[in-house]
């Protein structure tokens, strides 16, 4: 095993990686911006190197500066965390060229996974179900209606040029499609100067189900079960859990096998996540592959007992995966709340400031991954995710009880956080029944339409 690792990140994930490395006897190097001198990851690591000014573009995204820090400290490996440079093929390549071990997939896989359309095509060819759509571009309303009949209503008409919701039309039936197609085409032509449209199956209130995967250098690819991440706002996950109430044993096996096939199709290495949408009829469709450790990885760790960050280091070092999903003794239920310093009553407006009062929860079944401490000054330059609170118990109802109790104990003041929102969701009967989908959040937050009311 390598003896020194540089963590190219900040916040809770930098701490998470430092802790895993320390348990493996690996010495740690933190990098930090001028705004992060007082951050916990800097204090916790064995060595620390300042890599630039506060703005991420000049520090945490500054490849040269980070690689330089690794060289100076003699680090042999780099863990990118999530976000920042984690999925940058260019950074992975720069590490390789500098003789550093990048803890993640190859630059080639990162580039393929990052190109969502190409990834979908490659993974679809490998036999993994993808959201059915016309193969890029329908020339006429007749052709559109033909494809729609084939894939089944409702369908979405989308623009190839895409962006900002322009040209997107949901059509419940053929009549609506015949009416909307010309309108969508005109709108797209005006917006992008290109009127190429395609037809895609529209899933009504699907669930977001993703599978954790691990792949070693010896051709072993395994999955570690699913995470349910349907509670999300604007594609940002808020609550995640493992397992999901929506999967039977058979469905889990089928989706697990599809995840492994997807990983193999892109020649995956290290830890990753394969994301699916699951419709009401139990059909699942590949969405994308996230080529990194994810924010919500702890829920999988809690139910499998596998430390995913340590596995990342072990695999990167050339170790073999000598177990599969069937060898894991899955036990209990874990639910995570992402605590952001945002005001849920004011359209999730960020709430920076000093954490004058900090009282973390504890006790049986509680895991807290955070970089907060009493008196910490939240920098305005970085993400508002400040803590991940995970409740664990043998049953889902028990995990909800643990989490509600922990949220009640958790004090972060005077900044606003999403804690009150999570209390409401956990008290909700439908949530408690596990009846959730990607639209569930709408019942708990003000109408999205109001966001820019004075524009």
């Amino acid at each position: 095993m390598f003896s020194k690792i540089l963590i190219a990140n900040r916040g809770e994930i930098a701490l998470r990686v430092i802790r895993a490395a320390r348990e493996l006897g690996i010495s740690t190097v933190a990098v930090y911006s001028e705004a992060d001198e007082e951050s916990l990851h800097v204090r916790t690591a064995d060595e620390q190197v300042c890599i630039g000014p506060p703005m991420s573009a000049r520090s945490y995204l500054n490849m040269e500066s980070i690689i330089d820090a690794a060289r100076k400290t003699g680090a042999e490996a780099v863990h990118p965390g999530y976000g920042y440079l984690a999925e940058s093929g260019k950074f992975a390549r720069a590490c390789r060229e500098a003789g550093l071990l990048f803890i993640g997939p190859s630059p080639e896989t990162l580039e393929l996974a990052g190109d969502k359309i190409r990834a979908k095509a490659v993974i679809g060819e490998a036999g993994v179900p993808v959201v059915p759509s016309s193969p890029d571009g329908v020339a006429s309303v007749e052709e559109a209606a033909g494809y729609a009949a084939e894939i089944g209503y409702p369908v979405m008409i989308k623009a190839s040029a895409g962006g900002g919701g322009r040209g997107i039309r949901m059509c419940a039936d053929e009549e609506a499609l015949r009416e909307d197609f010309p309108v969508a085409r005109a709108e797209v032509k005006a917006a992008f100067g290109d009127d190429c449209l395609y037809v895609e199956k529209c899933l009504v209130d699907p669930r977001h189900i993703e599978f954790q995967i691990l792949a070693d250098r010896h051709g072993n690819v395994i999955h570690l079960g699913e995470r349910e991440c349907s509670i999300q706002r604007r594609y940002q996950k808020l609550i995640e859990e493992a397992p999901s109430t929506a999967l039977t044993h058979e469905k889990r096996a089928a989706m697990g096998a599809a995840s492994i096939a997807a990983a193999r199709a892109v020649d995956y290495l290290n830890a990753g996540t394969v994301e699916f949408l699951l419709d009401r009829d139990g059909n699942f469709y590949f969405m994308e592959i996230n080529a990194r450790i994810q924010v919500e990885h702890p829920v999988t760790e809690m139910v499998t007992g596998v430390d995913l960050v340590k596995e990342q280091m072990r695999i990167a070092d050339g170790d073999r995966l000598e177990y599969t999903f069937d060898d894991l003794n899955l036990r209990g239920w874990a639910i995570e709340c992402r605590i952001n310093t945002e005001d849920p009553d004011r359209h999730f407006l960020p709430s920076p400031g000093t954490v004058a009062q900090y009282r973390p929860p504890g006790g049986f079944g509680v895991r807290l991954d955070t970089h907060l401490y009493q008196g910490y000054d939240l920098p305005v330059f970085y993400d508002s995710l400040v803590a991940k609170l995970i409740g664990y118990d043998l049953t889902r109802a028990g995990a909800i009880r643990v989490l509600r109790r922990a949220l009640q104990e958790f004090t972060i003041q005077p900044v606003k956080t999403t804690i009150p929102l999570y209390r409401k969701i956990l008290d909700d009967p439908a949530f408690q029944q596990g009846e959730i989908h990607t639209g569930t959040i709408k019942r708990f937050v003000p109408d999205e339409e109001d966001d820019d009311e004075d524009d």
Binding site: P54, M55, P352, V380, F381, Y382, D383
Partner: protein
């Protein structure tokens, strides 16, 4: 009768005078602005907010530097109405 109207930061954040690095600033000193016209952007924890003019008038002072980290209530613009 002209009046001085101050525009202050609604919260702490990074101040941007331009919509993008390669585009011209939203406003310069001496420009006439309308009420609710966008004057600048403020980035707080990766969220961008538009700083809008509270009144119609003329920009007489730009107190904040582009890309500066502002504190809550820092003076940004002075507008003469």
């Amino acid at each position: 009768m002209s009046k001085r109207v101050e525009v202050r930061a609604p919260m702490s954040g990074v101040f941007y005078r331009r919509p993008a690095p390669d585009e011209p600033p939203y406003v310069e000193v001496g420009d006439t602005v309308k009420k609710k016209q966008v004057l600048a952007l403020l980035e707080t924890m990766k969220v961008f907010q538009k700083i809008k003019s509270p009144a119609a008038g003329k920009i007489v002072e730009i107190a904040a530097e582009n890309e500066a980290a502002l504190k809550d209530d820092d003076l940004i613009f002075v507008i003469e109405t």
